[in-house]
Amino acid sequence: MNLFKRKNYIKINPPEVAPAAETEAPSIPDGMWVKCDDCKKIIYTKEIGPYHLCPFCRKHFRLSAEERIGLICDEDSFEEWDATMTAKNPMNYPEYHKIIAKAQERSGLKDGVVTGKCRIDGYETVLAIMDSHFMMGSMGSVVGEKITRAVERATKLRLPIIIFTASGGARMQEGIISLMQMAKTSAALNRHHQEGLLYISVMTDPTTGGVMASFASLGDIILAEPGATLGFAGRRVIEGTINEKLPDEFQTSEFQLEHGFVDAIVSRVEMKETLSKLLRLHSVEGGTFS
């Protein structure tokens, strides 16, 4: 359950070839150019567009929860729940509150998940979106509690739930309490399941460890974004055990599709349309032709 260090893209200084010294052209400030860590090409940030894709190789760069909401929900339909929840320190981990405060400042988030209710092409659904920009989306008490409440409310309101996962695994600073969130979320999903309600899990980069071994894997339907790192044990841990390098495809979305653990890989451009279609297909009663 190690945290994945891989960055989605790295900021670099403008390449020298950049804007030829044309007379009136404004100089391009730092951060206007990024390098795709898959195809290594230099990209002008505006070309990444709202979907945050590499214009050359279509790599899906990591999104914030807010950006994701903008792409998925009908305009102004998202109603956030439990927005003020923040972590306490169950294990008295040294300086945990400082670590949390720093992560909050950097990400503009309270913790690793945003939850609420929204409409997708008019279909009402509960939605939870994890954000890897907050401590790599690690699951501690806040992530576990917000997901659990979202599932419980979906059950009560008889609504579907869609969860976008992005997590390096359990929040180790919260010790055994972080492990218990796996049980708590899975038990809540069991009740939602028993009521015959729909759960769609969408795995995004990265989904590993305790989140993979709980709610991420429990969708009636499991979608994945292309090229995401999806697995249980950390790649380096396995490489250390078997003492050899693993191929690049190991633990990718494509690997999980091939081995039967995701239903479909869906490009970000088609995600809203796909979710809308699934919600529509589940909004009518199935089966009985009379």
Binding site: T84, M91, I176, S217
Partner: protein
Amino acid sequence: MSNAMEIVKKARMVTRPTTLEFIEMLFDDFIELHGDRCFYDDKAVVGGIASFHGKSVTVIGVQKGHSIEENVMRSFGSPNPEGYRKQLRLMKQAEKFGRPIILFVNTSGAYCGVGAEERGQGEAIARNLMEMAGLKVPIISIFIGEGGSGGALALALADQVWMLDNGMYAVLSPEGFSSILWRSPHRVEEAAELMKLTAVDLLKNGVIEKIIPEHRDGLENHLQFTTEYIDRFLLEELKKLCAMPVEELLENRYQRFRKYGSFTEEDELEKK
């Protein structure tokens, strides 16, 4: 050495009695059942049907070995996905026939390997958690040695979780904690202490309900001393759990796990 690390060492001792030895002492007529009906028979998990005070029960546990050869065969007590799927199959069978389930936990964690990933280690653990939340028969989980991470939790979504004096339960090993959070191999003892992984700490934090005594001259020398306690506790608790209406049993199990969390909902930034 710190007290917590001493317990971790004891929990891991190769001489520590294994699941099959506990089963032998506690139950009659144990018959082992094999395989997950999908891929193979993971020998890191053993399970079957047995008789306890004249009633049938399903018993399942993670099995370590006492020698290198045996440990290789048992993947050192780290189950592959098929081990968890065998466990699920036997639990569903128990539910069908109305048998209580008794689980023995002794694992450093789920097996880490290419095959385990290819065959869905994460899915196997997740599935057990979700299914166990709804099983309509009593489940009691006993930590007899190590309890590491999701690989242990997959056998511990139970109505009651008990632990021997020198058992342990943590989100990862103290070695892993030290190296991942502090980037140092030298702070393992400090990690063990901080992680609150001992039976006493876990009881205090409400993660377990009971501590089962071990003889001071070693569990391996006086197994019966401990199994006599387990026998008595199991009998008492199963009487209670079996008398409970199913709805109440499941509601209690749900609430048992629902309560874990440490958070605040006051907006402290706003106040400042």
